[in-house]
């Protein structure tokens, strides 16, 4: 006993996050080399930054005294486009993603349909909204219609994937009980699965409504309509007080939407 106590370390040291010392030092060394290389390749033009500080200050001033009035017509138009785009795209996106989500659930869909639906989801998820918006603007022309299509398409990847995972996680006993009454496939989906996934589907739909509004403020930069176009114009004209007003409106609407959807979710779940 005394011998063992003699060899033990006198001071306790906490165990490291990565147990293998070789791997640990390799990761530390690799990170250090990467950071040095990365910082070396980023060249900051300090004179430009110094000149820009003046603009930064004007922007902060704009935030303190936002100008809602002088461009109100443009802002109202952009907001109207953003909000209508968000609502229509979310509704259409949900309507399309429910069948795809059901098709992408392995426990209720046959293999060919499963693979096809998973393919659609992967396609929709792998590209940024803004890239899809560029393509849709090129095809459908400028304006909120292209934005509507972009957001609908992006909604499919998000909602169908989560719905499919939810359906795969259901309590199989309930579906089995419905099936044992002699119910057909539609009836199993309607009575055995739909009640189990409905609360979460509503929650996810509200969350997606939120995301779609945030995205609708961006895709305008590439010409797909909405408040992003107004914001881009305001920035190009160096009207930082109008730009600040738009940003404040976006933040307020997102906060309201988050607050509202949290209330609805509490009531549903």
């Amino acid at each position: 006993m005394t011998a063992a106590a003699g060899t033990a370390r006198a001071v306790w040291r906490r165990p490291p996050l990565i147990r293998n010392p070789r791997l640990r030092w390799a990761i530390y060394g690799g990170s250090l080399v990467y950071l040095v290389l990365a910082f070396a390749s980023v060249d900051v033009n300090w004179t430009r930054v110094y000149e820009g500080l003046d603009r930064g200050l004007r922007f902060v001033e704009g935030f303190l005294v936002p100008d809602f009035v002088s461009r109100w017509g443009d802002i109202a138009q952009g907001m109207q486009e953003s909000l209508t785009m968000t609502v229509t795209a979310t509704v259409v996106g949900i309507m399309v993603s429910v069948p795809i989500g059901i098709g992408a659930a392995r426990n209720i869909a046959p293999l060919p349909i499963y693979l096809a639906c998973r393919g659609i989801i992967a396609l929709s998820r792998s590209f940024q909204e803004i890239i899809i918006a560029i393509l849709f603007v090129a095809m459908f022309g400028f304006g909120p219609f292209a934005g509507f299509l972009t957001l609908s398409f992006a909604t499919i990847g998000f909602l169908a994937k989560l719905l499919a995972e939810d359906i795969e996680d259901i309590d199989e006993a309930q579906a089995e009980a419905i099936r044992s009454t002699g119910a057909g496939w539609w009836q199993v989906v309607n009575y055995g699965i739909q009640p189990q996934v409905m609360p979460r589907l509503i929650g996810l739909s509200l969350y997606r409504l939120d995301i779609n509004f945030r995205e609708s403020s961006v895709i305008g930069i590439v010409g797909a309509g909405g408040i992003g176009a107004t914001l881009n114009t305001a920035m190009d004209r160096y009207e930082y007080d109008s730009a600040a007003a738009i940003l404040i409106l976006i933040i307020v609407i997102v906060m309201l939407a988050e607050y509202g959807s949290s209330i609805i979710r509490q009531r549903v779940q």
């Binding site: 906490r14 033009n45 803004i130 459908f140 961006v218 590439v222 997102v254």
Partner: protein, 271 residues
Amino acid sequence: MVDASRTFPESWRKRTTRTELLIWAGWLALVALFVFCWQVMTQDTIWMFVADAPSQAADIGSRMVPPRWAYLPDLMAPLWDTINIATLGTLLAVIMAVPVAFLAARNTTPSVRFVRPVAMLVIVASRSINALIWALLLVAIIGPGVPAGIVAIALRSIGFVAKLLYEAIEEIDAQQVEAVTATGASTAQVIDYAIVPQILPAFAGICVFRWDINIRESAVLGLVGAGGLGLKLQDSLNILAWPQVTVIFVLILLTVLVSEWVSARVRHAII
């Protein structure tokens, strides 16, 4: 005790007539809202362009193939920039988000009434504005290039990292904190020995997850002038060089897949 005088309906129904009517009215309102929004949105749409879309799509598709693979070497430097924007941006965001998260968590904030709302406001403001919009502002302020992209990614990520981290801090086991406090440890020592070890795995997972998202976002930041692959994309789109656009799309797709794989592996190893 069942009231004998009460009459029961012939068949079982899940809801009363009143709730059924209410639900029906709710659906009607939703449909009406949708139709109204659709009308407002499409009032300026030129349907000729929409009808023309299939031929436009076919046209663009035919221009996009074959991809101009010779353009690939030109994309290596922007790809390196994109990875740097995402990684350094995430790093910067994490450095700023950790204090915000500790100020926002109910069990570690110095004051629930005054400090916590400020921290929450920082989180919401950072989360509601997309990285592209941050980049738009920063390009105007500190000039086009990689630094604007790094700061834009960092500002966007603060809210995300801080939100998930403060939720993790609020869920820790209070007994461990109590045990360390009982030894006479100072606040800093309590954080170091009781709180940090509990949230470290979640923290690492959050960082890698955000890094993965940031790779996607930094790939398009160049569209507004903040460096990386998006800059090349903008150049190619401006001169309608669709074969180059295809190459860029393929490269972005591959980068995203690799980053997703890395992030999934690391998170799997940690959790």
